[in-house]
Subunit: 457 residues, 2 copies
C-alpha cells in the first residue's frame, strides 16, 4: 500500500518559503509530499535587495531579479506556486488556511499537514497626516519596485524625498540621483544610517552629499501635503516643508507576523514569530523562516527581527531540511550588513558602541585609517576600520568599515572574529591574505586590531 501523500502548504513564495519548499522536495518525492505555495504578490523567489537598483536603472531587466518562476518550480520541482493569492486566515485546529484570490476576491480553504510561514516583512508606515497621498511608496516587495518605477516613468517627477536613512533609504537616494531627480533625504537622527556608530555615519553623510543628495538631518517628519490631484506635494517636518513629487518611505520594516499571531502562534519580544533553532514555531507542524521569524543575536543574546535575504535563504533551507525529515539548525545572527553609497562601501557586523553598552558590555573602540591596496599601488583608496572591543577581555564585539573599492566584504573577517568570540590579540595573529593589489602589508582589519591591542596594553 503506498504511503499517504502529505501536504506542505507554504505562505509566501519568496526566499524563505521557497528555500524550505525546495529542500523539503529534495528529501521527499511528490508521491510522499505534495507542496503548494501561495503568495499575495506577483513574483516568486526574487531578490528584494535588488529593487533599488531596478528603480535606478542599474538593473534593467525585471526578470533577472526573479530567481525561479512558478513554471520552474512546477516543472523541475513539482511544487505548485500560486501568485496573486493571499492567505487571509490560518485555522490550525482544522489544518487549513483561507486563501483569497486578489483579483477576483474569491476565497477557498486549503488544507495542510505541515505549514511553512514565510510572510516576510512590511514597511513601517507611521500614521502621519497625508500619508495616503498618491506617490508615497514603501519599497519592500518587487511589486513595490515596479510601482515606483512606473510612477516615475509616468509622472516624470523632478524632486524626490526619501524619509528615513536606513539601507533602503540610502540606496533609493542613490537611485533617484542617478535618474536625475533632485533628491532630499530626511531623518530624525543627526547622522544617516543609525546602524553605524555616529563617527562612521559622518563618512556616509559625506558620500551622500557627494552624489547630490540634500540632507535634512535631525528633522522628524510630521506629515505630508498633497496637491488637488491627490498626489504628494510636500513632506512636512517640524522645521520646513520640503517640496516633493515622489516620496519613498525608508523607515525600516517590521515582521509580517499578524496572520500567524491571529492563529495562536507565539510571537517573540521582537515582534517576529518565535522559533527554535530548527525553525519550529510554538505550534506543532507550523514552521516559520525569513523576515517574519525571530532570530537570536549571538553577541547580545537577545531575540531580534532582521529582514535580510541571506538569513531568509539559510533559515528556509534549515526549515526545509527538517520538514523533509533531516536535521539542521540555524545558529543565529550577528547583524552583519553591507551596502553601497555611491563610491563608498559601508559595512558593519556585531554590536556598535551603543548596542554593546545596551547589551551590558563595557567597551573600547579602535579606529584605523588605512588603504584598500598597498599605498604605492595604483587605485589604493581610503578605508576606515573600527573595532568595538570588550574592555578587560579584549573580545571583538563588532566592527564597522567605510571605504572605497574592496572595503565592504572585508567585514567578513571581522564577522568571523566576532562569531568565534576572538580577542583582538588573537585576530591580530591571523594569517590574512596579502598582496599589494589587494591589501597593505597590515591588512586594514589587522591594523585596527593592532591599534586595539596597543590600547589595551
Amino acid at each position: 500500500m503506498p504511503l499517504l501523500t502529505r501536504r506542505l502548504l507554504v505562505i509566501g513564495a519568496d526566499a524563505a518559503g521557497m528555500s524550505a519548499a525546495s529542500q523539503a522536495r529534495r528529501r521527499r518525492p511528490a508521491a510522499e509530499l505534495e507542496i503548494v505555495a501561495f503568495d499575495r504578490g506577483n513574483f516568486s523567489s526574487y531578490s528584494a535587495c535588488g529593487i533599488p537598483y531596478f528603480v535606478g536603472g542599474v538593473v534593467d531587466d525585471l526578470a533577472s531579479l526573479v530567481v525561479r518562476t512558478p513554471e520552474e518550480f512546477r516543472e523541475k520541482h513539482s511544487i505548485q506556486v500560486h501568485l496573486g493569492h493571499e492567505v487571509v486566515e490560518i485555522d490550525l485546529d482544522r489544518g487549513a488556511v483561507l486563501v483569497q484570490h486578489r483579483e477576483s476576491g474569491g476565497q477557498r480553504w486549503e488544507g495542510f499537514d505541515e505549514l511553512m510561514v514565510g510572510t516576510g516583512a512590511v514597511p513601517v508606515r507611521p500614521p502621519l497626516p497625508g500619508a495616503d497621498a498618491q506617490g508615497i511608496f514603501g519599497v519592500q516587495t518587487l511589486d513595490d519596485g515596479v510601482a515606483v518605477r512606473a510612477y516615475v516613468a509616468e509622472h516624470r517627477p523632478g524632486r524626490a524625498v526619501i524619509v528615513g536613512s536606513g539601507y533602503v533609504g540610502l540606496e533609493m537616494a542613490e537611485a533617484f540621483c542617478a535618474l536625475g531627480l533632485e533628491t532630499h533625504l530626511v531623518d530624525g537622527a543627526a547622522q544617516p544610517l543609525q546602524r553605524l556608530d555616529p563617527d562612521m555615519g559622518a563618512l556616509v553623510a559625506d558620500a551622500l552629499r557627494e552624489f547630490g543628495t540634500i540632507l535634512h538631518l535631525g528633522q522628524e517628519v510630521a506629515g505630508f501635503e498633497a496637491g488637488p490631484d491627490g498626489r504628494v506635494a510636500g513632506v512636512v517636518t517640524g522645521e520646513e516643508t520640503i517640496a516633493a513629487e515622489v516620496v519613498v518611505l525608508g523607515l525600516g520594516v517590521r515582521p509580517n507576523s499578524a496572520l500567524a499571531e491571529a492563529a495562536g502562534v507565539r510571537i517573540g519580544p521582537s515582534g517576529a514569530i518565535a522559533v527554535d533553532q530548527r525553525m519550529r514555531t510554538s505550534r506543532a507542524g507550523v514552521w516559520a523562516a525569513g523576515d517574519c521569524a525571530e532570530k537570536r543575536h549571538r553577541i547580545s543574546g537577545r531575540p531580534v527581527a532582521v529582514a535580510l535575504g541571506t538569513h531568509a535563504n539559510k533559515e528556509g533551507r534549515v526549515a526545509g531540511i527538517n520538514l523533509g525529515g533531516g536535521y539542521a539548525t540555524f545558529p543565529g545572527v550577528i547583524g552583519t550588513a553591507v551596502t553601497k553609497v555611491g563610491a563608498l562601501e559601508v559595512a558593519r557586523t556585531g554590536l556598535g558602541d551603543a548596542e554593546a553598552e545596551a547589551a551590558g558590555f563595557v567597551t573600547d573602540a579602535a579606529i584605523a585609517e588605512s588603504t584598500t591596496r598597498a599605498g604605492y599601488y595604483p587605485g589604493a583608496a581610503k578605508i576606515t576600520t573600527k573595532l568595538v572591543v570588550e574592555r578587560g577581555t579584549g573580545r571583538v564585539l563588532g566592527g564597522q568599515i567605510v571605504g572605497e573599492e574592496g572595503a565592504a566584504k572585508r567585514i567578513d573577517a571581522v564577522a568571523l572574529a566576532v562569531w568565534n568570540a576572538m580577542t583582538v590579540e588573537e585576530l591580530l595573529g591571523v594569517d590574512l591574505g596579502y598582496a599589494p593589489p589587494y591589501s597593505p602589508v597590515w591588512d586594514p582589519v589587522l591594523a585596527a586590531a593592532r591599534k586595539a591591542v596597543d590600547r589595551l596594553a
Copy 2:
C-alpha cells in the same frame, strides 16, 4: 646613577628587523637601549612584494616602495641604519658581529647585548650550466628589482623567459607582458602555481595565456646558453631551447640562515632558524624574525619556511615587544597567500588536497562556481571557490579561490574558518555580508560550504 645603555644590533633593515627595532624603541628610550641596524642592500624597510609591479611599470616611483628611510629611523626613532654594510660573521661568545662595508671591503667588529637576526631569504639558484650568464636574475630584493629594470632599459630585450611559476614568476610574467616582451614561462610541473591544487591551477594557466604568456609546462630547465658577449641567449630544457634575452628565476626562495647557523644558532627542519613563539632562538639574547625564521603551520603542525612580508612584520613586532620588556607571541601561519594574474585574482589558505594528505588527513573537497556580485548586478564575474574538508569531522582544512574582481580577499573568511577549526556546517551558518553589488545572496564561500555540507550528509 643612570642605567647602563644596552645595545640592540639588528642584521637586515627590512620588515622583520625594523619592525622589531621600532617596537623595542617604543618601549625603551635611547638612553636605555641603543639600536643599530646593518643591511647589505641599499634600501631599508621596503615592500619586496611590490618589486614585480616596479619592474613592470605599474608602480613607477622607486621611493614609494620604501616605507621608511634611514633618515626617518634616525630622526624619528633614534635608530641608526647602515645600508651597504654586510654582517659576515657572528661571534656569540664575544657578543659581536663582523661588519663589512660592501663598497670598500673594509671590516670592523660591532658589539651587542641583544642580537636581532632578520636576514630574510635568498632566491633558489640551482647550479645549472650557464647560470652565471649576464641577464639572469633572481627577484628577491629591491636591489634585484632595480637591476632587472635597468637591464631591460639598457638592453631592450624582446624575449623574456621566466623559470618557475610561483607567485613571483607569475607576477614577473605579467610585468614583462605589460612591457611588450614576448614572455615564456617554463615549469617542470603540469600546471602553474603548485601551491594551488591542479584543478584550480588550470584556471591560472588560462589567465596567463590570456595576457600573452607562452607556457612551457612539464619541462625541467637543464641549463642556459649564453652568447659571445656573455649575455644569456637561451633556456635549455629537456625538450627544447627557448631563446631568451632576459631570464628571471622564480624558483622560490630559501631562508637566509647560514650566518646564524655558522654562529651555532639552531636551524629547524625547514632550513629556517628555529624560534619559539616569542621569536627567541636557541641562543640567549639572539632573536630571529621574518623570512629567515621558522614558523609553525597551525594545521599540519609542521615547521615551515614561508617568505612573506605580512609574517615578517608581525614576527618583527613580536620580537620587538619582547626585546623591549613586553610580552607577545606569534601564533604561527596557515599558508594564506593571494596574487593577481592579469584580470584573475588567486587566493589560497590552509592545506591543499595533497598537502592535507601528506599531513595525514583524509579529505573531501567541494567546489562552487558562483559570481562575485548578485548575478543580475552589472560587473558580476565568475568566481570558483574550493574547500578542502576533513572527512568525518567536516573540519575546514583549507580553501582556494580563483576569480575576478573582489575574489582574492574573500579568502580571509576561509582563513578565519581554518584558523578557528570550524566545520563546514559551522561556516555555512556564519553571518557574512550580503548586498547585490558585493555578493550573491549565498556568498561564494558559503555556497562552497553548502556544497560540502550536502556532500557530507
